[in-house]
């Protein structure tokens, strides 16, 4: 009895060792390039590291770095507040627009009648494979005061704004850009007055919003397209037999079947929109009037320009928390229906299944 036990143990050990040997490269690479940097950054965010030598040699200062921009008021708080406002509007506009547009493109490209499908797929996907830096540079030319966009608007007798130099919020502009009512002007959150929180994205930020929708829709179109192609012809036929028209088929049959993809697209969109950095770095470092400042860029600026390493790292961890919260919220909103009920049931049954398997094995 005990002899077999020992052999068994030895065998499991060997099996484990082989397993570990195979995953070791992956574990090491993930550890060195992902886990350790994250832990180091976490340490920097609670230390007084000044940027010289190893961060491990610096002192622990608790939450001081977090306080410096969350609680203390002053310039760091205001910058953080502005960056959150800017990015929140960016998120609110980009995610729905890019989801609807990419779904629309996917449905169009998926049509049987469409000729030259490959051409359209490539054309729509092209902006996604072009570097953000190149597209941002292109954008600054297109949207300059005398650029192509304004030239086009002029043909329509519209006097275009000086896009990348216009800090006015579009909600304020819709109201005719009135001066702030004193009540909203005085109450502040994160160093930014309520009136400024309600400004909407600035005209400059709108140009970035259009750009994000333009560049990301192609990728998400591919995701939707892949999902659409798994929906069989018989489903459509069944709906046709039931007398559903085109819109009903889309709304009641196709869309529900796309729910998992929709969830993926919105999640990726959420994460992506909270990480805007390249565009801001290339264009104006947050100008005009800091209305395109984002938390990701602010984190870089705090660390590398202002040399407040702890604050830079802390900003990135707050950003991390924001992304997690939004993803969970969004999961709760989009993931709540029959599909997840089914999943929940499966989860509940899992222990039972496991027991059954165990019994069979023994």
């Amino acid at each position: 009895m005990s002899a077999t036990n020992v052999t068994n143990r030895r065998r499991t050990f060997r099996k484990d060792a082989v397993g570990w040997a195979f995953v070791a490269p992956c574990v090491i690479i993930l550890g060195v390039f992902l886990l350790i940097p994250i832990l180091m950054a976490a340490w920097v965010s609670v230390s007084d590291w000044t940027g010289r030598g190893s961060p491990l040699a610096s002192g622990f200062v608790g939450l001081e770095n977090y306080e410096s921009f969350l609680g203390k008021g002053g310039l760091p708080t205001k910058d953080f507040g502005l960056s959150i406002r800017n990015n929140a509007y960016y998120f609110v506009f980009v995610v729905p627009l890019q989801t609807v547009l990419s779904l629309g493109l996917a449905v169009l490209v998926n049509r049987k009648m469409l000729r030259a499908k490959a051409f359209f797929k490539t054309a729509f996907y092209f902006p996604s494979v072009t570097s953000t830096v190149a597209i941002t540079t292109l954008w600054t030319f297109l949207f300059s005061a005398t650029g192509a966009i304004n030239a086009m608007l002029e043909k329509l007798s519209v006097d275009g704004p000086n896009w990348f130099n216009d800090p006015r919020g579009i909600f304020h502009l819709m109201l005719g850009n009135p001066s702030a009512p004193p009540g909203l002007k005085q109450s502040e959150f994160l160093g930014v007055s309520l009136w400024d929180w309600l400004s909407g994205p600035s005209v400059a930020m709108c140009a970035f919003i259009v750009m994000a929708v333009f560049t990301t829709s192609g990728t998400f179109m591919l995701l939707f397209l892949a999902a659409l192609q798994t929906i069989g012809e018989e489903t459509k036929e069944a709906a046709l037999v039931d007398g559903a028209n085109g819109w009903q088929r889309f709304w009641h049959v196709t869309l529900p079947m796309l729910r998992p993809t929709l969830f993926t697209v919105i999640t990726l969109g959420t994460i992506g929109t909270w990480q805007v950095f390249d565009q801001i770095y290339v264009s104006g470092h947050g100008s005009p009037a800091k209305t395109t400042l984002t938390p990701a860029f602010l984190s870089y600026q705090s660390a590398f320009v202002d040399q407040q390493w702890g604050r830079g790292a802390a900003t990135s961890f707050v950003l991390f928390a924001i992304i997690i919260v939004f993803t969970i919220l969004q999961r709760m909103v989009t993931g709540s229906s029959d599909l997840s009920k089914e999943k929940r049931q499966r989860k509940l049954l899992r222990p039972l299944r496991w027991l059954k398997e165990k019994q069979v094995a023994s």
Binding site: T50, R52, S54, L75, N165, S287, K290
Partner: protein
């Protein structure tokens, strides 16, 4: 299993940390001789272009031939970031460009070594430039070169408006009147960037500054009056911020003839000759308010405290800031020599640049204490809306932030 994982984790950590601190260039091939330390001196530069890169490489190679010590020039695409990587790893470049904005931080964390007092040509540097790199009475680094701001005028438009050499503005009133004369449909008389780095000249001309003797003085009455003057200029339509007329900076506004006059530094000459060679222009001294005033901008040769050939690196700096070498740099990429001994040679070679060099006598440095750069960025972000703002309110906000930064 857990223990094994922990061991694996620890060894990975040790590996990573070892990589941070070990010296891979530990040079058994170059044993330090008793007489000459021949460790390679690396030089990290943020180059304005190929001309500057080539000039610095050539100068470093020349010095290597003279001294027998190898040098290596590394061109950074993001100087702040690459310098920070070096400082964090304990293996920084031996010498590097240091801007006035980075000086305070890198000095405070011990990355830079103050070597000013060891320079044999110390007294040759312009006093104003030495001041820019002095912290608590110690000169940290040698000024590499510098630039000042002047009034750059499109001579064709100047003549077309019926103006002559006698009309170059020397007072604020004259500036206002020539700007109005030069303003036509689709063109402003005067343009400059919406930033303290340009608008600051008016504060200096009115006897103001944003920091005096370590104290914030941003909202002094002199500054408020100066900013109000700027506001009037901009509101009158005869002056505009570069971005408001669709130009990235003053040079573009002048080159595209969106403005007849701009306030810019001597770097404008490079852009004009390469991008707008058909636009004739002339640089004159800025007009005076209650006094003459302009701003200067400078970079220094920073010496890394962690370098392993510091004494020779200082000798290299002395070579790079020698009179002849400074004139060679001026010729190669348009900077102004930071040493007084080169000023006559510079004036003789570049007579058209004399207005910029004259500014050196009265130019002001922008403050560079820790945290001040961020407050200037914030002030700049409000300047764009100067037309619709209260100058006093903008300066008050700036003052509050400055006080917080200066502590």
């Amino acid at each position: 299993m857990k223990i094994k994982l922990a061991i694996a984790g620890l060894s990975v950590l040790a590996l990573a940390l070892g990589g941070c601190s070990d010296d891979p260039s530990g040079s058994p091939s170059n044993p330090p001789s008793a007489t000459l330390n021949t460790n390679t001196i690396s030089i990290l530069i943020g180059s304005s272009g190929q001309a500057e890169t080539d000039a610095v490489k050539k100068a470093a190679a020349d010095w290597s031939t003279l001294s027998g010590i190898p040098t290596e020039v590394i061109v950074a695409s993001d100087l702040n970031q690459e310098a920070a990587q070096g400082f964090a790893s304990g293996q920084p470049a031996d010498l590097l460009y240091v801007s006035t904005d980075s000086l305070a931080g890198w000095t405070a964390n011990g990355s830079l070594e103050a070597y000013g007092s060891k320079l044999s040509n110390l007294s040759d540097f312009y006093p104003g430039l030495r001041e820019a790199f002095t912290i608590d009475g110690t000169l940290i680094a040698a000024p590499k070169d510098f630039s000042t701001l002047a009034l750059v005028i499109n001579t064709r438009l100047w003549e077309e408006a019926g103006l002559s050499d006698a009309d170059y503005p020397t007072t604020w009133e004259q500036l206002e009147s020539v700007a109005a004369k030069l303003t036509t449909d689709g063109r402003v008389g005067l343009a400059f960037g919406a930033e303290l780095q340009r608008v600051g000249v008016f504060l200096a001309q009115n006897g103001g500054s944003v920091v005096a003797n370590g104290t914030a003085t941003a909202n002094s009455s002199a500054n408020v009056a100066a900013l109000t003057y700027v506001q009037n200029l901009v509101s009158s339509g005869s002056a505009a911020f570069a971005a408001d007329i669709g130009a990235g900076w003053g040079g573009e506004a002048l080159g595209k003839e969106l403005a007849a006059m701009v306030i810019e530094g001597n770097w404008i000459t490079g852009a004009m000759s390469s991008d707008y060679s058909d636009v004739a222009y002339k640089a004159v001294e800025l007009p005076a308010g209650v006094q003459k005033g302009t701003l200067q901008f400078t970079n220094a040769w920073g010496l890394s405290a962690d370098g392993d050939n510091k004494d020779n690196a200082i000798k290299l700096v002395e070579f790079l800031t020698s009179t002849d070498q400074q004139l060679a740099f001026a010729k190669a990429f348009g900077v102004m020599p930071s040493v007084i001994s080169a000023s006559d040679g510079y004036r003789a070679q570049f007579p058209q640049m004399s207005a910029f060099l004259l500014g050196a006598d009265y130019a002001q440095n922008l403050p560079s204490a820790t945290g001040v750069a961020a407050t200037i960025v914030d002030f700049n972000s409000t300047l764009g809306q100067l037309k619709d703002s209260d100058p006093k309110a903008l300066l008050d906000a700036f003052q509050t932030n400055l006080e917080a930064a200066l502590g």
